[in-house]
């Protein structure tokens, strides 16, 4: 009787439940570490960094592109943290949100979306230019990647960018989303991110749904619905602006 093989088969067959158990243990460990720091670092922030480390390790082990979920026994983490359950859980956080708070943000929320997309795009284009990518299509694609890792490849595909450039644009977007997860709880006290209105502006500026959602969760879970609400419009708006207006403006400047 091969107990290891039997156990492994059981875990693989019931992937989602394996994920619940593993993430439960990771969360428990993270809150334990948090207590060691006198709760100076929030447990969920540690858990998210833990998750990212697991993702890095998974990438090293398997050579795949889906982090730890490429390890067969842990493939259920892919389902648990995948788009469907993630968005389902994000929607459920609206249960605690108040319409009166959302209404107060109004114009600033809409403005934050445009400012967030345009500034990220400009940063991406400028850096691409400095690194020697002087053709407009490549610059626009990398600029769009700095918006989010979905806007980058969508723009690249629409403009006919080369595959390495699209890869860079995706990487830029992933770097952004990971940094937002890690930096948000650290930056929050300095930028006044402690109320629903600031969270909505922040969601519109950052845009990456995964980054915003995780970053706010680690800052103050009550802020999540407000930030997520604006962030969810960002990718769509980015896909609209980058290959059209922003590309044409880039073309007008660089020829």
């Amino acid at each position: 009787m091969d107990l290891v093989k039997m156990g492994t088969a059981l875990f693989v067959k019931n992937g989602l439940l394996t994920a619940f158990m593993v993430i439960g243990v990771v969360t428990w460990l993270s809150y334990y570490v948090s207590n060691l720091t006198n709760k100076r670092i929030h447990g969920s922030a540690i858990a998210i960094v833990f998750g990212l480390l697991m993702a890095y390790w998974g990438g090293l082990m398997t050579g795949g592109n889906k982090g730890i979920s490429d390890v067969k026994v842990l493939s259920g983490i892919g389902l648990m943290g995948g788009g469907m359950l993630r968005d389902f859980a994000i929607v459920s956080t609206a249960f605690g949100a108040r319409l009166s708070e959302i209404k107060k943000t109004g114009l600033a929320g809409v403005l934050s979306l445009f400012v967030g997309i345009v500034t990220s795009y400009i940063v991406g284009v400028a850096l691409a230019f400095m690194f020697g990518y002087t053709d407009t299509v490549s610059m626009a694609t990398i600029g769009a990647g700095a918006v989010t890792f979905i806007v980058g490849p969508v723009t690249g595909a629409a403009l006919g960018a080369s595959s390495p450039v699209i890869a860079i644009s995706i990487a830029a977007g992933v770097v952004k989303s990971i940094l937002v997860m890690i930096l948000t709880p650290l930056m929050a006290p300095y930028i006044g991110l402690n109320n629903p209105q600031a969270a909505m502006v922040y969601g519109g500026l950052m845009g990456t749904t995964s980054g915003t959602a995780a970053g706010l969760a680690a800052t103050d879970p009550r802020l999540v619905p407000y930030g997520a609400m604006t962030a969810t419009f960002y990718t769509g708006l980015g896909c609209l602006l980058c290959p059209s207006i922003l590309f044409l403006m880039t073309k007008a400047i660089f020829g």
Partner: protein, 126 residues
């Protein structure tokens, strides 16, 4: 019953995403525009309506509260499947572009925050 809450949640999810897909198609964008945001608005409005008419029980609300409580673990699972390796392998251009874009966005939070009406809700500050 808890399933009523979960069903309401799922209904809002689909309604929101359907509108997001429609909006994307209308704007000729290859993406869902604000689907999750619309779903959240629907949930807020629907729950508000049901609560003020006493049409939803605590047990039904529990079905939604459960998923809301599972949110952070789901985010941890999401973090665990990011392509962190590729992000680092994307080289200095990708890392710099991502980093500076984030720092600039952080800078704008207090600037744009000034335009909003400050929260007068004392309950929030607790």
């Amino acid at each position: 019953m808890a399933i009523y809450g979960v069903a309401i949640l799922a209904f809002c999810y689909f309604a929101g995403n359907f509108i997001g897909d429609m909006l994307g198609a209308l704007l000729k964008v290859k993406a869902n525009v604000g689907g999750v945001g619309f779903a959240m608005l629907f949930l807020i409005l629907l729950i508000d309506y049901l609560q003020s008419n006493k049409m939803i029980s605590k047990a039904s609300e529990g079905g939604i509260a459960f998923w809301s409580a599972m949110y952070i673990p789901i985010v941890v699972a999401m973090a665990a499947q990011q392509n962190v390796l590729a992000a680092l392998k994307g080289g200095p251009l990708a890392i710099l572009a991502g980093t500076i874009a984030v720092l600039v966005a952080f800078l704008f939070v207090p600037i744009l925050g000034k335009i909003t009406k400050p929260s007068t809700d004392d309950e929030w500050k607790k």
